[in-house]
């Protein structure tokens, strides 16, 4: 048993513990900057354990094969560490104002990230379930963080109850899978599944996809997403939309690719249908939203649909495209949400129409939001464009032309609502100046995210190479 393999997760847990202790010993007066510094240190140490273990390095496994560290997990873990770091930087005044409870908040975010990292490395269903629940339960708390606001509390409770329901369904699917194969090890399941599809197996597959579909907000398991994204504090929404979603996709592709290759034909069809419905519903409903967080919630649903297109491709190339897409999506969505944290803080409103004339009041925020939205819409040369190209290309090669056609149509539709926000910011005159100075940490986080959007676009060949290397280690 090689406990050292858990060092990245342990570092985050230790950082959380140190923050809580420091808070206790400073009589609840630990400053925002001190908390951020401690968290950054924890994240840096955690990343330092991961970087030397290169993407293409030899996979190491421990805990009787329940936990694995390979290129795939390292890619996802670094992505999630980066996302956590940027969310903390970009949380702005929310963190400054979370009187007395900010240390707990940061500690909880770090622990959630640790849980998501465990989830990504799980190769055994019990481990997978426990890390999933660890992450979900802390997420419910995070969503309800502003417990004195009805919207936040409602968001937390809704997420919690629906998540519990989806977990129960997922568990029943796992139980069936266990019953059919007698295995909880993912590769053990693949070994036992040689006979092809039986009714019980197909039922198990449907239940698994419903449970995982909930985590990545695939339609029709998505209905919690808009409510929770709108009700939760914006930095938490940002965190949910990137870190949790990335982990969700990591689990989906791992389970499908390593445990269920025997029924690939079946799950490819189901995922393709989910992808088609998800991107279409997400984009269409986003068009009529007036609250920007809600609009972005539907936008993330649509993005999940595009990513599912890559999952449906089911090839190594498709997997690489999914990994690249998640990196591009993480940078882009963080850019958008961090900008919104600050804009909403200044204008006191999350309504799209109140963003009028923003470019005159806050040029950098407006520009960052515009770039992020254009990247989400998939315009060159931004990250989102290449992400879509790679995913669609992979799908075309496996004969999913109809799905790609639908995806392209959807991208065209999506431009409509993204451009509407940009139109408000740049074309409609400003009603009144909302003076304000952004916290330097927020500006730094935003700048890094936007730089990522450009870099992932312009050097997409390089990053796609990394993603493909990481993807290859999954099935090795």
């Amino acid at each position: 048993m090689n406990v050292a393999i858990l060092s990245p997760e342990i570092s985050l847990g230790a950082a959380a513990a140190v923050i809580l202790l420091a808070e206790a010993f400073s009589a609840g007066n630990l400053s925002r900057v001190a908390i951020l510094a401690l968290a950054t240190l924890g994240i840096a140490v955690s990343a330092a354990f991961l970087i030397p273990a290169q993407l293409a390095g030899v996979p190491t496994s421990s805990f009787s094969g329940a936990f694995i560290q390979n290129g795939f997990t390292i890619y996802f873990k670094l992505l999630m560490l980066m996302a956590t770091f940027l969310v903390l930087l970009g949380s702005g005044r929310f963190l400054a104002q979370a009187e007395g409870r900010r240390a707990e908040l940061v500690a909880l975010v770090l622990l959630t990230t640790a849980a998501l990292m465990l989830l990504v490395s799980s190769t055994e269903l019990i481990t997978l379930y426990i890390s999933l629940e660890m992450a979900s339960l802390s997420t419910a708390f995070l969503a309800a963080w502003m417990k004195h606001q009805e919207r936040s509390a409602e968001a937390g409770l809704k997420f919690f109850l629906l998540n519990a329901l989806s977990s129960a369904v997922l568990l029943y699917g796992i139980a069936l899978l266990y019953g059919i194969t007698g295995q909880t090890q993912l590769n053990g399941i693949a070994r036992e599944l040689v006979g092809g599809a039986t009714p019980a197996l197909l039922l198990a597959l449907a239940l698994l996809l419903a449970g995982f579909g909930f985590k990545v907000s695939a339609v029709p398991f998505h209905m919690w997403t808009p409510d929770v994204y709108e009700g939760a504090p914006t930095p938490i929404t940002a965190y949910l939309s990137v870190a949790s979603k990335a982990a969700g996709f990591a689990v989906i592709v791992r389970v499908l690719q390593t445990a269920l290759p025997g029924v690939q034909t079946e799950w490819v069809g189901l995922i393709a249908i989910l992808a088609a419905v998800t991107m279409t519903v997400g984009n269409i409903v986003a068009m009529v939203q007036t609250n920007i967080k809600r609009m972005l919630a539907y936008s993330t649903i649509a993005q999940a649909g595009y990513i599912l297109v890559g999952v449906a491709a089911g090839t190594g190339q498709g997997l690489g495209a999914v990994l690249f897409y998640l990196a591009a999506y993480t940078a882009t969505n963080l850019g958008a949400f961090i900008a919104i944290v600050e804009i909403a803080d200044r204008t006191g409103s999350e309504r799209t129409s109140d963003f009028a004339g923003l470019h005159a009041r806050a040029p950098w925020l407006a520009f960052a939001l515009a770039i992020s939205l254009l990247s989400l819409a998939g315009l060159p040369p931004l990250a989102g464009f290449f992400a879509k190209i790679y995913v669609f290309w992979a799908a075309i090669q496996t004969g999913l032309g109809w799905l790609v056609l639908l995806g392209v149509l959807n991208s065209a539709i999506s431009l409509f609502y993204y451009a509407q926000v940009i139109h408000h910011m740049y074309m409609v005159p400003a009603p009144s100046p909302a003076p304000g100075r952004s916290l330097p940490t927020l500006v730094a986080g935003l700048t890094v995210a936007i730089a990522g959007v450009f870099a992932l676009g312009i050097f997409s060949g390089f990053f796609m190479g990394l993603a493909e290397t990481a993807a290859r280690t999954l099935t090795q």
């Binding site: 629906l162 996809l209 398991f221 009529v288 060159p380 290449f386």
Partner: protein
């Protein structure tokens, strides 16, 4: 130098970055950064031109979008004669326009923003001409469109400017959509987007003939949008809402010729499809005469020039469609200078009068003698009067038309006539007669006068580069081999006569200031008296007949534009919105409803998964 030709484009990008990063706080610094970057770029371009003339050819590219299976996309640049010419045109005109803007835009609130956008535009335009593949070109193609949008809407507080910017963006996007489809289509068949690879594929017959025709016609859609060809020409006259130097650089000399450049660049492909060639020639020829006819009825000085630009672009496109690619490029080269000069002259008048309206001008030759002389020279050049530059290139195009397609030749001749008429109508109305409006009495800044003087030189002489007199260096350079130019004397004679007739008509109709003087002369010399009668007769003819036809033609074309474009834009999207509203209602906020959706989704997944079993297909 040619190995590092990308530096020429990188310089203005650097200027843009510096302005955006902070130099924008000082307007003067922003302006001079732009001028310095473009000036350096111009010097480098001349060096590149020399190396290319000495026989150098450069192409470099890198893997950008690996797609596996040996497929993928590359980006890169190439320098060949076509590129070298465009580099010189873009940097030189851009440099002069930036200097001119020092005076013209002085005191503008968005001075730094203006120069930032101009730097970005120059970078994008240079990138466009350096591109070695359709993909790279398309990226810069969209970027110049974006810059054009920003610059047309520079005075965005004016609703007309915002509307014009939007119209330009939307209309050119229509063409770009076709262009993108064309790119995908060609990639599908040839497996590459690099120009060299495409040429080889076309030459080796690896692209089926029908596919090549379809692909090239789709690519041509991009040129139709960007170069304002019928029926997508509607945006260019409106784009005159932008500052005049912008019109000179973007909407006369450089960006709008990108479509012509695209067709010249893909000419080796186009050559293989007679159908596509024919379509290109006809669209160009029709646009030429169509736009010129509208130029006659416009009263806004910049709109006259805009119609003229559309018409001349039609000329170039027609030349390429007729197979006379080098004649088209030669006209592009000459046109860039004299049309930029015309716009800068118009800017000089607008700066003086604060109006674009020709009927409010008049008699300006006294206040702006240099502008008057410059405008006249440029107009003569545009009208194609020997030996100014426009004469040589127009003659080559006319000769090409005369030898291949009589109908197009006739259209081109008619265009020559109309061109001369509207240009001299503009000159007579603006400069001759008595002043009809208020003018500022401030002198013109030197920074505005110098570019005018400099541009007179190529407006007069750039055409000599393509004459037999000097052994046709332009054609030889472009084709990479010795090419002789022949002046087709009958064609040259006819076109000159037609142009003179056009000037004469303008004189008869609009030379107000000298009508009385001529009348007195006629009274003294009996034989000339008959001419006076004739003059009345022609005036009547014009009012009663020609004007009605010409006006009607203009009115009709205007109607077609409005109904076509408006119907298209308004028709999009209302059905999707209603679908969205009904779907939104399902998101009721009720947890129960969400749980039911989850349950229903799970059941649906299970049913779909089991479908093959239920149907008994497995």
């Amino acid at each position: 130098m040619s190995n590092n030709a990308w530096l020429i484009a990188a310089l203005p990008l650097g200027a843009f970055a510096l302005i955006a990063l902070g130099a924008r706080r000082s307007p003067a610094l922003s302006a001079w950064l732009t001028i310095l970057a473009i000036g350096l770029g111009g010097a480098l371009s001349l060096q590149v031109l020399r190396e290319i003339a000495a026989g150098a050819r450069i192409e470099q590219s890198m893997e950008w979008l690996p797609l596996g299976h040996g497929l993928g996309l590359t980006v890169g640049f190439q320098v060949d004669p076509l590129t070298a010419i465009m580099l010189v045109v873009v940097t030189s005109v851009s440099l002069l326009v930036q200097i001119y803007s020092l005076g013209y835009m002085h005191g503008d609130n968005g001075y730094s923003r203006y120069y930032a956008a101009m730097s970005l535009f120059t970078f994008s335009m240079l990138g466009l001409v350096l591109a070695n593949s359709l993909l790279t070109m398309y990226i810069f193609w969209e970027l110049v469109g974006l810059c054009s949008y920003l610059l047309i809407g520079h005075w965005h507080e004016r609703p007309e400017a915002s509307a014009a910017a939007k119209k330009a963006f939307i209309v050119t996007r229509l063409g770009d959509f076709g262009f993108l489809l064309g790119i995908l289509f060609l990639y599908w068949h040839a497996g590459t987007l690099e120009f060299r690879g495409l040429e080889e594929a076309a030459a080796a017959g690896r692209i089926p003939a029908a596919a090549l025709t379809v692909g090239m016609l789709l690519v041509f859609c991009g040129a139709v949008g960007k170069s304002a060809q019928f029926p997508l020409h509607v945006w260019l006259p409106d784009a005159m809402e932008g500052p005049t130097p912008v019109s000179a650089l973007i909407h006369a000399a450089t960006m709008v010729v990108a479509g012509v450049y695209l067709m010249a660049r893909t000419f080796p492909l186009l050559e293989h499809s007679a159908t596509a060639m024919m379509v290109v020639a006809v669209v160009g020829g029709f646009t030429a005469i169509f736009a010129a006819s509208m130029g006659i009825v416009a009263n806004d000085i910049k709109r006259v020039l805009a119609y003229s630009t559309v018409s001349q672009l039609g000329y170039m496109i027609m030349a390429i469609g007729l197979g006379a690619m080098s004649a088209g490029m030669f006209h592009l080269f000459n046109h860039a200078f004299f049309k930029a000069l015309l716009f800068l002259c118009a800017g000089s008048l607008i700066h003086l009068m604060d109006t674009n309206d020709l009927s409010a001008m008049g008699g300006l030759r006294r206040q702006r003698p240099i502008t008057f002389i410059a405008t006249t020279i440029a107009a003569l050049s545009l009208a194609g009067i020997f030996p100014l530059s426009g004469f040589w290139s127009k003659d080559e195009i006319l000769a090409a038309a005369a030898s291949t397609n009589p109908l197009l030749f006739a259209a081109a001749l008619a265009t020559v006539f109309l061109t001369a008429t509207y240009m001299f109508r503009l000159i007579f109305l603006a400069f001759l007669g008595n002043p009809r409006g208020q003018t500022h009495d401030h002198p013109e800044p030197l920074s505005m006068t110098i570019p005018l003087l400099v541009l007179i030189v190529p407006s007069v002489a750039s055409g000599l580069l393509g004459t037999a007199l000097f052994g046709n260096p332009f054609g030889s350079f472009l084709e990479g081999r010795a090419v002789t130019a022949e002046v087709n004397l009958p064609v040259a004679g006819i076109s000159t006569a037609v142009a003179l007739a056009g000037i004469l008509l303008a004189w008869v109709l609009y030379g107000d200031g000298r009508v009385e003087a001529s009348a007195r002369l006629a009274a003294r010399f009996q034989p000339v008296h008959t001419l006076l009668v004739n003059r009345y007769y022609m005036d009547h003819l014009y009012n009663g007949f020609v004007a009605r036809i010409v006006l009607g033609f203009g009115w009709l074309s205007n109607r077609i534009d409005l109904s076509l474009i408006d119907a298209f834009v308004n028709g999009i999207g209302s059905t999707t919105i209603s679908a969205a509203t009904s779907m939104r209602r399902m998101q009721s906020g009720q947890l129960q409803a969400y749980a039911w959706a989850f349950f229903a989704g799970t059941v649906a997944l299970a049913v779909v998964a089991a479908l093959p079993l239920l149907m008994g297909t497995r």
